[in-house]
Symmetry: C2
Subunit: 358 residues, 2 copies
């Protein structure tokens, strides 16, 4: 009866771009009806490598939420919530950190790669090393069983499931479900310059609120085949960003296949394929940009959406925390309130006897 | 006007013993009037190396609270509170972990020693490595400026102050106070067997609820001077546990000095000094044991004390968390509620302009 739960989200470090659209937003749109979906505005995780600039993390909360709504995320079906306002996530993280060793965190391939990419060396912020446990807390707090991630993030789901199994073993029952990664077939969208990753900081992104001029300029400057100088020359499709983007965004797959064939043979200019791509991107982004501009005029509405979603998420995550804490047998101030005097006395007597045994 | 705030506490891994009394409880009793004192039942910290046995951590919450009350901690003056029920401590820890590097945590002398003592090697639970940040969260959440610790724990206060300075630098103002360690002159009470540390797990402790027979047996078995075989032989005072205990618990310092002189000269038997110590310990522990037994008959009262203290602590720690989050400029769902449309629009406009600049 109940729909499978999906948790995804974004670090609030900048507005979203086409890479996010191809890699995750389009999937999220597709799954809105079939799944109970939670979108986490991950401001606390963003701090793990942006502690020097919390203002950036903070001001992008609204940006990312606007992007969600603008692409068609429907808050009536998908819960948009703010990580820093969900204490259970921090509490579960602290608990989980006791169920994973430092050595295991350091071996995590995602962490290893990212430590290298960020040039942290030995000066990794401890919060960054610990973020797989924080992510496990995020996933499990929502009882998510499906987590869409990039291929490079798959080890984090492995790590989550390891923690889940340890918690369940300690609790003596399956208090938490394991999660399954869904990895999009498409792979990661490259930057307009041909670099593997589109990113705002790399300056090679087309953001979802890009103006028509910005889209045009980005497509014109797009990396194709440097050896393809004249229209009649044979051109390379592999590594040609324009074709990668056409694969991702042109719904006419046959048409794209035909273009690729012509381009490879020779006789098709970069200008022609770029015009086609530009038309597609202008058509894709125009309604997003317009909706975003409309929504930006009513920030109270956007804030209301985040607040309402965060309240729903609060209920859900607090319930999970309580269940996990109780399953492990942590001390409960609440349950003991109505406990009878007899029961408490029996327990205290037992405590006295146990002292010498332990 | 307002009293300086003290934070102390105990990991809930077992009932307290004479070592706790000499090392911290007696100080806490003395400071009840002059300071705003918070006693933390540190069940979450206890889990950092007891994740395999959460039940032990849980059942000792009541034990430790009983010990507090039995020695004379007065809940009207000292707040007794339960760590696992104070989410702000976990939230601040997660924040602080971004302001300290893994290398710095590993260099912490206390952590280094304890990793060795516990035989963790490379398999340190991540929670254990992170506990200096958790302790910084505990201390700062209560705005404690005075922290009584053993000499071996002093580096943890250094670590706390480092984090405080970083948070204050990031916030651009002194949102958190630094803390000062008070290290008891007495030093740590050895075990009855002469080992440096009295501990329940070491089997060399006299707990505060020990029966008269247990006290007698412990004193009789107490380590003295193995070379002091006959009464008339000169004996060694140094490393002689009976004298160490007399120094700690006999209020007649002159009398003890005289005994030491006689013992050193020869002519004073172990039996005599042990009788004197036993009398003192029986007199010290008897009222504690009786009060503890009386309190144990009314566990509802003890639970009420913890609940009430935890509620007070909740107010205090949540306020600090909000203040720190706000000072760093983290996103606020609350403040933005009443914000005017104009203000929000200005902010959104600014956001748009900032995109290209960042």
């Amino acid at each position: 009866m109940s729909k499978p739960v999906i948790l995804t989200g974004d670090r609030t470090t900048g507005p979203l771009h086409l890479g996010h659209y191809a890699g995750s937003l389009s999937t999220r749109l597709r799954l809105q009806d079939s799944h109970a979906q939670f979108l986490l505005l991950a401001d606390m995780q963003a701090l793990t490598d942006n502690a020097h600039d919390p203002a950036k993390v903070s001001r992008n909360v609204l940006e990312v939420a606007l992007d969600y709504l603008a692409v068609g995320i429907d808050p009536a079906r998908t819960t948009i919530c703010l990580q820093s306002h969900l204490p259970a996530l921090a509490e579960l993280t602290m608990l989980y950190l006791n169920f994973v060793t430092v050595a295991r965190l350091e071996r995590n391939p995602t962490i290893k790669d990212e430590i290298e990419a960020r040039g942290f060396g030995r000066n990794i912020p401890a919060g960054f090393l610990c973020y797989p446990a924080a992510q496990a807390a995020d996933i499990t707090a929502f009882r998510a069983t499906v987590v869409p991630v990039g291929a490079d993030q798959a080890p984090l789901i492995e790590q989550t499931n390891e923690i889940v199994r340890r918690i369940n073993a300690a609790a003596g029952r399956a208090v938490l479900p394991e999660a399954r990664a869904i990895i999009p077939k498409a792979g990661r969208l490259p930057g307009v310059d041909g670099k593997a990753k589109m990113s705002k900081s790399g300056g090679n992104a087309i953001r979802l609120s890009a103006s028509p001029d910005e889209i045009r300029a980005a497509v014109r400057a797009m990396f194709t085949d440097p050896g393809h100088l004249r229209v009649e020359d044979p051109g390379r499709v592999d590594g040609n960003v324009v074709f990668t983007y056409l694969d991702a965004f042109d719904e006419n797959a046959e048409g794209v296949a035909e273009l690729k064939a012509r381009y490879t043979r020779g006789g098709l200019g970069d200008g022609a394929i770029k015009r086609r791509l530009e038309d597609i991107l202008q058509a894709l982004i125009a309604p997003i940009r317009e909706e975003r501009a409309r929504l930006a005029k009513d920030p109270g509405h956007v804030l209301g959406v985040i607040r309402e979603g965060t309240e729903r998420a609060l209920t859900k995550t607090e319930a999970t925390k309580r269940e996990v804490f109780n399953a492990l047998g942590l001390f409960r101030l609440d349950r003991r309130k109505p406990a009878g005097r007899e029961e408490a006395l029996t327990e205290l007597a037992r405590l006295g006897q146990e002292f010498d045994a332990t």
